[in-house]
């Protein structure tokens, strides 16, 4: 690679500052010792992190979000893995339509999906239930898993599986011993991406969560609507930290640029 022209380098630094500014400010405010939003430079403390421990409602919402994200990501993998293998390895009538259908949750504005699923769940009598939340989240995170599974499955040589078949391996053995291990990075990356997407989801969840099934983003949103105080900043700081950890995991399993770019 050649050297970067100076103006472009300056632009890059400004751009990075722009991207980081809101996150850095949140982390800074979290360490203030004041009772209102301010910088920690004239007095820093951990009081707002201690405050989190006293807010059982936020802790409950956090655990609920983790359970929801883990369950819906797992369900999405169970549903998208076979479909992804079919798309990657078979040529069949209606394949394009199937791809379009499975990716369609990405095409519809989330706000529209939110009210549509609210209407659907309330007709079914399942509005505000955890089951309803899990199903809805599984449906909207499935495209992320599907893309990574298809990318991983398309990437490898099918003749390996055919060789095993010729040597007498049963279809199950071929799947469990050959195919699954080869596409495992795609599955792990897809699961993590699905987990993060579900964990962060607000637009859809705000419609279908009831007060007893509020997720952490919904709870934060409802709180921001009333007041903005350093407690929000300290909770957000924990979330940024969690995201960083998950990002490192993603990088390790699959490569961040591949996950976010959605290609191999």
């Amino acid at each position: 690679m050649t050297r970067l022209p100076r103006p472009l380098l300056a632009f890059h630094v400004l751009f990075a500052a722009f991207m980081l500014a809101p996150l850095v400010i949140v982390v800074l405010v979290a360490f203030t010792d004041k009772g209102y939003i301010s910088m920690p430079f004239d007095g820093a403390s951990l009081r707002w992190f201690n405050e989190i421990l006293k807010r059982q409602d936020f802790i409950d919402a956090f655990y609920r979000s983790v359970v929801l994200a883990a369950t819906s990501a797992t369900l999405a993998v169970v549903l998208a893995l076979p479909a992804g293998m079919a798309i990657a390895w078979y040529q069949f009538r209606g394949r394009e339509i199937l791809v379009g259908l499975l990716l369609s949750p990405l095409m519809v504005p989330q706000i529209v999906l939110g009210i549509a699923i609210l209407r659907f769940l309330s007709q079914m009598g399942a509005a505000g239930t955890m089951t309803g939340l899990i199903l809805a989240h599984a449906a909207i995170v499935m495209p992320y898993v599907l893309r990574l599974v298809v990318a991983a499955a398309t990437g490898f040589d099918r003749s390996v599986a055919q060789a095993a078949e010729t040597l007498g391996a049963s279809p199950w053995t071929v799947f469990a011993r050959i195919q699954l291990p080869l596409i495992l990075p795609g599955i792990a990356g897809g699961w993590l991406l699905a987990f993060i997407t579900s964990f962060d989801e607000l637009t859809l969840t705000v419609f279908i969560a009831s007060p007893s099934t509020q997720t952490l983003p919904v709870k934060l949103y409802a709180y921001i609507a009333n007041t903005i105080d350093p407690l929000l900043a300290s909770i957000s700081t924990m979330l940024i930290l969690l995201t960083l950890v998950l990002m490192l995991l993603l990088e390790r399993f699959y490569g961040l640029d591949r996950v976010l770019g959605g290609k191999s």
């Binding site: 751009f15 259908l101 519809v108 706000i111 529209v112």
Partner: protein
């Protein structure tokens, strides 16, 4: 690829396909139907078919203004993302592997951080006593704080921050297909780096740029969290209006009609733009 006449692929994809049909397709059809119902204030939903909700949307200045504001916001955000996202994507391709890895975390990482957290950061930055106001007053550019929270400017800045990674990703993807040798050839023939950028790089990445614009535009038009927090009730956009109709005024048919209109406009723009891109793309490369 195997071309076998068997039912295996259908069985494999049935669970996923049925889930999406049940949880996306069916609810969308139900919502579309709902938009032709009506609901008097405080009353139950009346399922006699009527066009009155759509009548309000095209005839009522209140709704026309909200739609105009939303699509102007989406257009401005797309413009800002275009202006800053395209050069940034280009910079990413020119960095060494180590710097690129760090830059990717900084530039694309925020996509994985909850949009509520990112918007909270902007709410703090944009406030009357926020960092931006203090900095501008400290260097003497301002005499008194300007109201950036609940302002159109603040909204466009914050939403551009939320969506610009999509533009970078899209342009970056098309830049990676670019043959670096063509740039070097132009350079060795004496072209300045600006000329290389304008005459060699840009024409090849136009499809990626346009698809990035489409993604950003569609996401901006439907964005909820950022407009709700930054713009609040003062500057309502379509998504926050839908939210109010559903959860505050409890007029679900009206909310459904707004949602259906939003979706149809976004889809129509996307399809038209796609057709235009495909036509142009063919002309450029044939």
């Amino acid at each position: 690829m195997t071309r076998e006449r068997n039912s295996i692929p259908y069985w494999l994809s049935a669970p996923g396909a049925l889930t999406v049909l049940a949880l996306v397709a069916v609810p969308l059809v139900m919502t579309f139907t709902l938009s032709f119902y009506s609901q008097p204030p405080g009353g139950a939903i009346d399922s006699t078919l009527t066009l009155q909700n759509y009548g309000h949307i095209v005839g009522d200045d209140y709704y026309i203004e909200i739609f105009a504001r939303t699509f102007l916001m989406a257009a401005l955000v797309t413009g800002v993302c275009l202006l800053i996202g395209v050069p940034e994507a280009y910079v990413l391709t020119r960095l060494t592997a180590g710097w690129r890895a760090i830059s990717i975390v900084i530039v694309l990482g925020p996509l994985l951080v909850s949009v509520v957290v990112r918007t909270l950061g902007w709410a703090i930055l944009l406030g009357r006593d926020g960092v931006i106001n203090k900095a501008l007053m400290a260097v003497g550019l301002l005499n008194q704080p300007v109201q950036l929270m609940y302002s159109y400017t603040g909204l466009v800045i914050a939403l551009s921050h939320v969506l610009v990674p999509y533009m970078v990703l899209s342009v970056w993807a098309s830049l990676q297909k670019l043959d670096f040798a063509t740039e070097q050839a132009a350079e060795s023939l004496g072209a300045s780096s600006l000329t290389v950028l304008r005459r060699i790089v840009l024409p090849q990445v136009i499809p990626g740029v346009l698809s990035g614009c489409l993604i950003v535009f569609a996401l901006a038009a439907g964005a909820f969290a950022t407009p709700a927090i930054i713009a609040g009730r003062r500057l309502k956009v379509v998504s926050t209006t839908i939210y109010d109709e559903f959860l505050n005024y409890l007029n679900w048919p009206m909310g459904a009609a707004l949602a259906a209109t939003l979706m149809v406009i976004v889809l129509a723009i996307s399809l038209l733009a796609n057709r235009y891109i495909e036509r142009r793309y063919k002309q450029v490369f044939s």
